[in-house]
Each structure stands twice: as C-alpha cells, then as structure tokens.
C-alpha cells in the first residue's frame, strides 16, 4: 500500500507540469505580456516605466521557456511572492482562506453524498411507487433549475423573508457554524437532484444482476439484499461518480462564498481572475490540484477496500 501511495504521488509531477503549461499558455502566451501587464496595473500607473518595472519584477523579460520554468518552480516550492492587489504574501492569503473553504465544502459534500445515497436507495427499493415518482420528478426539477436561482431563492426566503438564518457574514472560530448552516442546506438542495438520479440508476442496474437473483433464490430478505449485496457492489460506480464530482466543489464553493460573503478560496480565486492577480491565481490553482489529487488518492485506496479484486491486481 505504501509503495502504491508513493507511485501515485509520483504521478503528480507530470500533472503539475501539464497544468502549469495550460495556465502558462492562457496567461503568458495567448493573453500576451502587454495585455497581462496592462490589465494588472491600475489605470493611473500604466506608464512605460511602470510597465517595464513590473515586466522585470515578474520575469516577463525572460524568454518564454524560462518564464515557464519559473512558473513550475513557484508551483512546486509553493512560493508565489506577494499579491499585487492585496499587498500581502500569497502564502498568508492561502493559509487564511483554505480552512474556511474546507469547513464549507467538506461537510457539505459529505452530507450531499450520504443524503442522496439514502434517497436513492429508498427510491430503488420501492421502485415504481409514489415515493420513487416524487423523487424522480423532484430530481428532474432540481436538474433543470440553475444553481444560481436556487441559491438566490434560498437566501431570499429562508434568510431574508423568514429570518431563520443570518443573511450573510463570517466570524472566526466555532460561531461561524451559524453562518454555514444555510449554505450547507442549499448545497445539498442544489446537488442532490443529479446524485439521486445517478445513484438510483446504478442501484437498479445492480439489482438486475445474477447474484441478486441467487441471493433471492436462497431466501435472503429484500432489505438484506439491498443493504448487504446491492449497496456494497454499487460502491464502485458510486466512488467513481464521487471523484468526478470533485471539480464541481469549486463551482459550489465559489457561488456560495460569493453569496454569503464567506472568505474562502473560491472568493479569492474569482477576485484574482478579475484583477489579473496572477500570483494568487497560481496559488489557488495549485491548492485545487493538490486537493483533487489527494481526493483521487483516497478514493483509490477506498476502491481497494471496497473491492478485494483491486488489491490483487
């Protein structure tokens, strides 16, 4: 297992090189240095000397290949220098924003998966019944309304009109939970439609397999078949699906953080893109990629736990 983890971590190296190349192409080659500097600087300081100064400061007077290597070096050593708009070291910003996002996304994601698995099992167990119909209709409705609208309505009614939750805000420490409850609820509402649909289909596919018929022939009860046989075997597609959802954590955190003014990393990233704050952008990208690779690693280990055949090969 240890060897396996090491091997997976080595896979990270080419991925980081590739990711650096993608953003290097977007910002330094397609965007062009002139445009990049022009957009980064505030209007008053767009003089020739200023542009020259910043070009030197960001190493944009080097050949492209050196610029690329610089970018890779920054990403690997995690030393991104100072943010141009906030005048703070990037590492400090990251340290401040990442825990906030983690507190928002990790519980929300866990609730999402657990709740939708339960709902999907219920729908698959009583398939064709009224509960199944209602869940299917609700999930189609949830899939067809924009996340933005659901979040806006949720904030408007639950927080503003009814006053059940604070509208927005943030504090340090445990008091922040008060501000996080509504974002968590909205997160689950927004995502659960897709998940229930997918999980239900997976569970139904699994319930047509031969081993289910065998179990039923041996006299195993319906509930035991669902919990011990079908759910366990469906874990592999479910895990694959969960990994595929990880990039969507960005979308969710980004929207919710902007709406509820939670100072997380999605918020930081949007500001960085809007103000061409490249050091911060690179750092946030790096955080996301590390997060992604970490999660894929965990799910690969989970695969091995769920499916004994994976360990053998």
């Amino acid at each position: 297992m240890f060897q396996y983890i090491i091997r997976r971590l080595l896979h990270l190296v080419p991925i980081i090189l590739g990711v650096a190349l993608v953003f290097f192409l977007i910002f330094n080659v397609i965007g062009g240095q002139e445009k990049y500097l022009y957009n980064m600087l505030p209007q008053k300081s767009r003089t020739a000397e200023q542009i020259d100064y910043y070009r030197h400061k960001y190493g944009l007077d080097h050949p492209l290949i050196i610029q690329y290597l610089d970018m890779v070096k920054q990403m690997v050593t995690f030393d991104f220098g100072k943010s141009e708009t906030r005048k703070l070291p990037v590492s400090l910003l990251i340290k401040r924003h990442v825990p906030v996002s983690a507190v928002l996304t990790v519980p929300a994601f866990t609730f999402e998966i657990i709740i939708s698995l339960i709902l999907a099992s219920v729908a698959a167990y009583w398939r064709g019944g009224w509960l199944d119909r209602i869940l299917t209709i609700l999930s189609v409705i949830g899939m067809s309304i924009s996340m933005l609208v659901l979040i806006m309505l949720g904030q408007q009614f639950l927080a503003y009109r009814f006053g059940w939750f604070p509208i927005s805000g943030w504090t340090r420490g445990i008091g922040a939970v008060k501000y996080l409850v509504l974002p968590w609820i909205l997160w689950v509402i927004v995502t659960v439609g897709y998940d229930v649909r997918f999980f239900r289909t997976t569970l139904l596919e699994e319930s047509h397999r031969d081993y289910v018929r065998t179990a039923r022939a041996k006299g195993v009860g319906d509930k035991d078949i669902m919990i011990k046989h079908i759910l366990r075997n469906a874990m592999i597609p479910v895990l694959t699906y969960v990994v595929m959802q990880i990039p969507f954590l960005l979308t969710g955190s980004l929207l919710l953080e902007r709406f509820f003014s939670i100072p997380g990393i999605g918020d930081l990233m949007v500001n960085a893109i809007a103000s061409y704050d490249l050091p911060v952008l690179k750092a946030t990208i790096m955080v996301y990629i590390l997060f992604f690779v970490f999660f894929t690693l965990i799910t690969d280990i989970l695969y091995a736990l769920v499916d004994p055949r994976v360990r053998l090969s």
Binding site: P14, V19, V140, I145, L148, V149, M152, M269
Partner: protein
Amino acid sequence: MSKLSKSEILTGKSPMQLSMIRLKRNPQAMAAFAIIIIFILLSVIGNFNILGLQDAANKFDLDNRYVKPFKTIQHPLGTDNFGRDVLARVVVGTKVSLFLGAVAGLFMIPIAILMGSLSGYYGRLADDIIMYVMSVIVAIPGLLIIMSLVQVLGRTFFIIALAFAITGWVGLARVIRGSFMQAREYEYVLAAKCLGASDARIIFKHILPNLTHFIIVRFILNYVGVIKSEVLLAFLGLSVIGVPTWGNMIDESKLELTAGNWQNMIAATLFMFLFLVSLNLFGDALRDALDPKLKNATYKVDD
C-alpha cells in the same frame, strides 16, 4: 409466395429506423421534442428581429421602469430596470443560450472523436500522449479554464463556446477511446483490415457509426451543462457582453429581488426550466431508443 417474401424485404428496417419508431411511440419524448422545436423557432424569431423583438429588448423606456408582470398589454411580463420589455429580452436570450450550447457541442464533438479514436485505435504512444492531456484537463476544474480563457480573450460568443468545448471533450473522448479499444479486437474490424481497408476507413466507416448514440446523447447532456454554466459565467460577469441572455437576466435579478421585482428571474428561469426539462426528457428517451441492447424491447421497464 414470392409476393410475400418480396413485401418482407420491402418492410425491412434499419436499426436507426427502428429506434426512430421507438422514439415516436413515446409520447413524453415527442412532447419534449415539440417544446424544443418551439424554442428553436423562438431563437430564430429573436435572431432575425421578427416582430421587432430585438428593438423591444434593447429600447430604454425610463418612464416605465419595473412594470409588474400581467399589468399592461404592451409588457406582458413587465419591464426591467431600464424599462426594457422582459418577454422580448427572454426570447432574444433564448437565441444566445441555444446557439451557445449548439456551437460548443459542434466544437467539442470533432475534438472528442479525433482524440478518442486516435488513442483508442492506435494505442501505444498516441494513447499515452492523449491520456496525459486528458488527465491534465481533468485535474483542473473546468470552470477555472473557462473563466481564465474568457477573461484573457474577451467575452465574445465564440470564445465562450470554444472555452466550453476545450473543457467538455474529455468525457466523450474517454467513452470513444474505450469503445475503440474493444472494437479493435472484433472480427468485423479484422475482416475489414484483411480486405485492405485503410485505417481512416475502418475508424470512420466501420467503428464510429456504432458510437452514434453515445455521441448524440453526450451532445444533449453537454447542451444542458453549457446552458447551466452560462448562468454561472454571467454571475461572475463573464457571459456574452451586451446582449440579453438567460444568465445575464438572472444575474441582474439578484439585486432586484429584495425590492420585489421578480420578473427578470421568473421569466429567465421559466424559459430555462422548460427548455432543460424537455432536453433532459428527450435525451433520456433518445438514449433508450438508440441503445442497441434494447433492440427488441418496445418499452423499457425501469429508468
């Protein structure tokens, strides 16, 4: 007797015709298809300025700001903060969303087919390189690439469509790659090879037609995804500039809700909802109709 066998030959149907028959028998799918056609007509009306819709969508009328819906006949769905007619705007917005999804899909599919078939059919080096590219793109959240590209290149229609295509092809290419890897070993491919068919002929004439249903269904799924993502882009201020789109309207409404002006949001959400529900239902029905595994079943029992 000869008459009988002759008529049998005449009534023989291709798999595609059979799927279309299955599709036509599904009333839900046909209703969804009708709604999709209506939306396409709406986008055409909006595009060619029939009924003066574009003028109505862009004309400022500052005396009639925030007219509530269903109050006057001139503005059935009310007006927005510049006194522009919401109904006209939402119809014109249909055009952008529909075209965006279609163009993004049309950009995406050739890339996916090319990459998927190259890596699946040839394997080895081509496969390694393309798999590497795919794993890099998968590691970055798609929205991040889209946001950066649109920010750098500008908020025009084609750039946004291209950005969606660049991030969207990976999923389809994976499916195509997997199918090509399987198909490479099948007898019909070996037979074609023995008869001296070129690689291009095998890829495009022999293997690819078997994947049509994957591609069509993925196109529809992608369409839904693009329309929903356009709203997110609008929220970030990165949607198509200067024209009404569903996303821009929903984004505008976020500051109007507290004052009780719902018309922008309700109109855009309603249109989007109708379109996406029809698209989802039609996509599902199409998947069921095209799936070769279900060839003899008239109706599928489960979802």
